[in-house]
């Protein structure tokens, strides 16, 4: 089974990627104007207090030294202290990661279900009205920004109809499903708009493929041909695209969590940027980058499992 040898080797290739990401995020936040110590103690604090606070957080050191402090503590699993929340960043992230992870998985599953339902309906009714409608949906869906769709969903389903809460993440599994439905649906709509176009096209291409005619020539019925021959072959390009889009989706949670006030990492990211909370922003950037890299890796595994021709 050396098809799967890359499962062991690929993570090694990711180390330089992660170092690069930490460096870039570190430098970017330092290039921004504004002083975190002033944010913390206010403009009228005496200079010696400002200096002491600055020294306490290591902010009086040269930037390059600060970066190595950052890397060293990272190696110890220590992400630094948040100047705003006055607690270790790792504890802060741990308390916020739940809703974001839940939202991502929820949105991805909804998106996949939506994509498959729409693509299959469109492909099986090629050229007729269901197909035209679904194609129009995916074109329109690509054009609308998710914050606008999110606001409209809140307006209709939360404010007018009162079906879903306006904000928050809920307690417990069922409550969370209820609270996060609209945010997850917002992300799923954007995701399925992209994926439906590809999956519909692959399904249609595969329905006319020679190997499908050959399967029919052996008496394989419509349903079996579709689910056993057409679908597996069509999923391969779509899963690759899903991998690319999930990376983008993680950054999409920043917008959606802000719109729906979900107390997750994305929401924390925006508030930390405004507060110049360096350590928190860096840590979230790293977590998001790590998640993106991890998802890309998982998609590679799924692709190899689905397509015997691929060798990594």
């Amino acid at each position: 089974m050396n098809r799967y040898r890359f499962v062991l080797l690929r993570p090694l290739q990711l180390v330089p990627v992660l170092i690069g990401i930490s460096l870039v995020s570190f430098l970017l936040i330092h290039a921004l104007p504004g002083d975190p110590v002033r944010t913390l103690v206010g403009m009228r604090a005496p200079p010696d207090v400002v200096e002491r606070i600055r020294a306490y957080y290591g902010l009086d050191q040269p930037v390059i030294v600060q970066y190595f402090y950052f890397l060293r503590s990272l190696a110890e699993g220590e992400l630094g202290r948040s100047v705003v929340y006055r607690m270790p960043v790792s504890d802060l992230l741990a308390s916020r990661a739940g809703p974001t992870l839940f939202l991502l998985v929820y949105a991805t599953l909804l998106g996949i279900v939506l994509t498959i339902a729409l693509s299959v309906t469109a492909a099986r009714n090629r050229g007729r009205w269901p197909d035209q409608t679904i194609r129009a949906f995916s074109t329109i869906g690509l054009g609308f920004p998710s914050f606008w769709i999110g606001l409209m969903l809140i307006l209709v389903f939360s404010v007018r109809l009162g079906l879903f809460p306006v904000s928050g993440a809920g307690q417990g599994f069922v409550d969370r499903l209820h609270h996060l439905f609209l945010p997850a649906f917002t992300i799923a709509l954007a995701l399925s708009a992209v994926l439906t176009r590809t999956l519909r096209a692959s399904l249609i291409e595969q329905m006319d493929a020679d190997h499908v005619t050959a399967a029919r020539s052996r008496g394989v019925g419509d349903k079996d041909v579709f689910w056993r021959h057409v679908v597996p072959n069509s999923l391969i390009p779509t899963i690759n695209l899903l991998g690319v889009n999930l990376g983008w989706l993680i950054s999409g949670t920043v917008v959606v969590e802000t719109v729906f006030s979900v107390p997750g990492l994305g929401f924390l990211m925006t508030s930390s940027i405004f507060a110049r909370d360096y350590m928190t922003v860096q840590a979230i950037t790293l977590v998001f980058a790590l998640a993106t890299v991890l998802i890309t890796f998982l998609v590679d595994v799924v692709t190899v499992a689905l397509d015997p021709r691929v060798r990594m």
Partner: protein, 326 residues
């Protein structure tokens, strides 16, 4: 002797951007149990559409618009898609020109062969797998146990064609339609595949329609031949008669253009001109513009098939002039 397959007055239309066009006209032929028939013609002559219509495997926008096809008592032309699925496999099966494109790239060879067995015979996974293994042996694939779990890309071209034959034969059909089965293969492998088909005919009593543009293949394998030109059968009959004493100027041209008969060092003979496209077929004999013995009467009406010998039929009213001229 009653025919296994009987095709009568088959017409096929292709719908293009400016409406339907007749691609195959009034094609009739019979095939007996265990008989091998060659269906010969150039690209676009309608031979592939004709053979695919036997199992109603026509592409989108192509439809049978007239005639009847009867296969082992089943009226193929009147069946629903669901009924057709019960005929495809156990009664008639098909193999194709390009085995690479016609095998599912993400399904193991074993599963592709076993799939029809499970569908048609309700066999268990293990039974179907055992049948698939036997079939691989039967079509001459060595080391069948490990080959079952391999994917098409792990097979060579010739082995893929053997695997496709195994899948087609999985439910023991009585008719095998072979659409240019050797065209995409190396010359040495071509001969092996043809040998295999003939062996299978002998051991299973399989009737075969062999679609090809290669007269050499026909002369090695078939008992009878039908020659198609521009959507019609222009000559049909027993192989020795049709290839040995062609009674249609198109067949004569094909035979003359084969290498082997001529003097070494001389150019092969070619038929001048091109066959007409779907949209510009002439009202009379479609071959008349390229025909050495054509006269004005040939261009007014399509000549009917007439007898030129025992079971030998030609669409040329002037066939008696052939041979004499050569």
């Amino acid at each position: 002797m009653s025919a296994l397959l009987s095709v009568s007055d088959l017409c096929i239309d292709v719908t293009g951007s400016d409406g339907p066009m007749r691609a195959v006209s009034d094609v009739s032929f019979d095939l007996a149990e265990g008989e091998v028939m060659g269906l010969v013609g150039e690209s676009g002559s309608g031979k592939t559409l004709t053979c695919r219509s036997v199992l109603r495997l026509l592409p989108r926008k192509v439809a049978i618009t007239g005639g009847r096809i009867e296969l082992a008592g089943h009226r193929v032309t009147e069946m629903t898609e669901r009924q057709l699925a019960t005929v495809r496999g156990p009664v008639g099966a098909m193999i194709f020109q390009n085995p690479t494109a016609h095998l599912n790239p993400v399904m193991t060879i074993g599963n592709q062969i076993a799939e029809p067995v499970r569908i048609h015979e309700g066999a268990s996974r293990a039974e179907a797998r055992a049948r698939a293994r036997d079939l691989l042996v039967q079509v001459g694939i060595p080391d069948p146990d490990s080959r079952l779990d391999q994917y098409p890309h792990e097979f060579s071209g010739g082995m893929r064609q053997r695997a496709m034959i195994a899948a087609a034969l999985a439910c023991r059909p009585r008719l095998l339609i072979a659409d240019e089965p050797t065209t995409a293969l190396d010359v040495t492998v071509q001969a092996q595949i043809l040998r295999l088909l003939l062996d299978l005919r002998d051991s299973l009593g399989l009737a075969i329609i062999l679609v090809t543009h290669d007269l050499a293949v026909v002369s090695q394998t078939c008992e009878k031949v039908a020659v198609m030109y521009a959507g019609r059968i222009v000559e049909s009959g027993p192989k020795p008669a049709v290839l040995g004493r062609p009674c249609h100027p198109y067949t004569e041209g094909l035979v003359a253009s084969q290498p082997g008969g001529g003097v070494p060092g001389t150019l092969l003979k070619a038929i001048p001109g091109q066959p007409p496209g779907l949209s510009d077929r002439p009202p009379g004999c479609a071959f008349a513009p390229r025909c050495p013995i054509a006269r004005s009467s040939c261009e007014s009406a399509v000549p009917p098939l007439e007898s030129a010998g025992p079971a030998h039929r030609t669409a040329c009213p002037h066939w008696s002039e052939l041979g004499a001229a050569a």
